[in-house]
């Protein structure tokens, strides 16, 4: 799958409290409404201006904190096609795969805000069309690729009736 979009740059330690703030706790059963506040405390313009297919690009330990799956879900609902970071917190990473949002670990220092990217998930290649640089990334563990390629964990279980991972 080839993804295309623009870079939205964030720093290190983007917590789930920044992605889906606790003060909007009451919107958790209205995800479209909650998505209007995604990452609001990190970049107040983001939710209003993010385009379909764009990329959230973070630093170290992206998604640390709570287990709220609402965090990757509203990033996806906002139109983001993939999250890139130097490293991810474990629960966020797993949740993203489960809801069908691709996540990539790579050296994000090389990517600048506003850059246009083209990402080939199968080949593990990121082309920065603005700066003309190319980055490679390691593929996901096979268990995660299997879930992601089915469109997330719900679709995976519906399709196979059980876990079908190696």
């Amino acid at each position: 799958m080839i993804l295309r979009g623009k870079v939205w740059k964030f720093g290190d330690d983007i917590s789930t409290d920044l992605i889906a703030p606790g003060r909007y706790f009451h919107l958790r059963s209205d995800l479209n409404e909650l998505a209007k506040h995604v990452l609001e405390d990190a970049d107040v313009e983001f939710a209003k201006k993010v385009g379909k297919g764009d990329f959230v690009v973070g630093g170290r330990n992206f998604g640390l904190g709570s287990s709220r799956e609402h965090a990757p879900t509203i990033i996806k609902i906002a139109g983001v096609s993939c999250v890139l970071a130097k490293s991810f917190a474990r629960i966020f990473f797993r949740n993203a795969i489960n809801i069908g949002l691709p996540v990539i670990e790579c050296d994000t220092d090389k990517l600048a805000a506003g850059d246009e990217l083209e990402i080939d998930l199968e080949k593990g290649v990121i082309k920065d069309l603005t700066s003309k640089i190319q980055l490679k990334f390691a593929p996901l563990p096979k268990a995660m690729t299997q879930i992601l390629s089915d469109g997330g964990l719900v679709e995976h279980i519906k399709k196979h009736g059980e876990f079908k991972i190696e």
């Binding site: 330690d13 917590s15 409290d17 920044l18 703030p21 606790g22 003060r23 706790f25 009451h26 919107l27 958790r28 059963s29 209205d30 405390d41 170290r60 330990n61 640390l64 904190g65 709570s66 287990s67 709220r68 799956e69 609402h70 490293s87 917190a89 474990r90 629960i91 797993r94 949740n95 489960n98 809801i99 563990p141 096979k142 268990a143 997330g152 964990l153 719900v154 279980i157 519906k158 059980e162 876990f163 991972i165 190696e166």
Partner: protein
């Protein structure tokens, strides 16, 4: 080759001989849902087309994050969860019964169990010798519907703790120190095993503090071997038949080993806005305490409240500091009332609230104003955590929080010991 506790538990629950880095399908004993993550799990189970859960007696649903509900949307989420519990026959813990991890520890979690919870602090259960970890709503929905989940078996960091805690220094201070040392992602994907004489002599309530915060170093689990302290805790809660001997083999393979002496440990604080931003309280400088919060799944137990009441007895809060005390469960609340602690708190000038998570997670009951500081016994100080991105949260032990409420600023508690 010998095995770690995690490798043993996960092997036993997969029917295969597993080692670190193996991927496996694992049988799940216990599932936990709370009111922030539960409604989504219920909806995902519906999406899956699964009507019945495999083992309702192994599922507990908690109404604790919005207790009592401050908004109609959350009241409706509670209806969803009550209906789910009624329909499937799983356990429901109503508003006021307590924080999920406290009740899981009191009533459900046993050595050797696999517990998955839609709450990141599910790792609390590691104190009891269980493999307990936090996951998202969909993972837990599938675990409820199929009775299993998948894991990559974690590598284990062995933390060997020797020496003796000095007066006024607690498990919380140790854990803040360790997280500061490891960093917020120092244990990502890994289990941490706590051992050594200082851990072996630590009673269960203090162990629960340590396992609870393992996730703040990124860990998948924070585990203790089961021993006489585990047995004593299970007996206290009428579950001594659940005791099982469980420890890592002597020749188990560890990812790395960290040695810590607690003799020199002093009261610690996590400064805003990351948990690993730690320093000794005595070196933190002047921090005005607009609010002091004592509670949460980390430090809302009866032992914590006793420490606080001992410090507060016969004293008054600083007039510029408001104080909130939230017992972690109904049983803790009742015991605190019987022992006269609640009277001490109220006379001190504190507000005692319903057992729950509201203040810590920024839903209700303790939201900070712009520019305000909270000295808190909870486990997270991320920007926006207590409901306001313009607030500042300092994480400390109950003793440090109690001293700070008297002085009106972040204060070293050792003068009270």
């Amino acid at each position: 080759m010998g095995k770690t506790i995690s490798e043993k538990i996960l092997s036993e629950h997969s029917g295969r001989d597993l080692n670190a880095d193996d991927f496996a399908i694992i049988r799940v004993d216990l599932c936990l849902l709370q009111d922030g993550t539960g409604p989504l799990a219920v909806r995902q189970l519906e999406q899956l087309g699964i009507k019945d859960v495999v083992n309702p007696q192994g599922i507990a649903v908690f109404l604790d994050h919005a207790a009592p509900s401050p908004r109609k949307e959350l009241s409706n989420d509670h209806i969803t969860l009550r209906n789910f519990a009624r329909r499937t026959g799983c356990y429901l813990f109503e508003i006021g019964e307590g924080v999920c991890h406290q009740i899981m520890s009191e009533m459900f979690t046993s050595p050797g169990d696999v517990l998955v919870g839609a709450d990141s602090h599910t790792c609390t259960g590691g104190a009891l010798g269980a493999f307990a970890t936090g996951m998202g709503s969909t993972d837990v929905a599938v675990a409820m519907g199929l009775g299993k989940t998948w894991f990559r078996v974690p590598r284990t960091i062995k933390v060997v703790v020797n020496g003796k805690f000095r007066p006024g220094v607690f498990a919380k201070d140790f854990m803040l120190f360790l997280i500061g040392t490891l960093g917020a992602e120092g244990a990502t994907y890994k289990a941490i095993e706590f051992t050594g004489e200082a851990m072996e002599s630590l009673p269960m309530p203090e162990r629960l503090v340590i396992s609870n915060m393992a996730v703040e170093a990124g860990a998948k689990a924070g585990i203790f071997a089961s021993d006489k302290m585990t047995k004593a805790y299970l007996k206290l809660h009428g579950r001594e038949d659940k005791y099982k001997e469980l420890r890592s083999d002597k020749d188990a393979k560890y990812d790395k080993e960290i040695d810590i002496e607690v003799d020199k440990l002093v009261p610690m604080v996590s400064m805003p806005h990351t948990v690993d931003n730690t320093k000794p309280v005595e070196k933190a400088g002047k921090v005005k305490a607009h609010q002091v919060f004592i509670g949460s799944c980390t430090n809302g137990r009866i032992e914590d409240l006793r420490v606080v009441a001992d410090i507060w007895k016969g004293k008054k809060r600083d007039t510029d500091t408001r104080v909130i005390v939230t017992p972690a469960s109904k049983d803790v609340y009742l015991l605190a009332a019987k022992e006269g602690l609640i009277e001490t708190f109220v006379e001190f000038g504190a507000t005692v609230t319903t057992p729950g998570c509201g203040a810590c997670v920024g839903v209700h009951g303790g939201i900070l104003g712009d520019g305000e500081n909270c000295i808190a016994t909870s486990n997270r100080n991320f920007l926006g955590r207590m409901g306001n991105p313009k607030g500042y949260i300092y994480l400390v032990s109950p003793a440090t929080a109690a001293a700070s409420a008297i002085k009106g600023e972040l204060a070293d508690p050792r003068e009270y010991f």
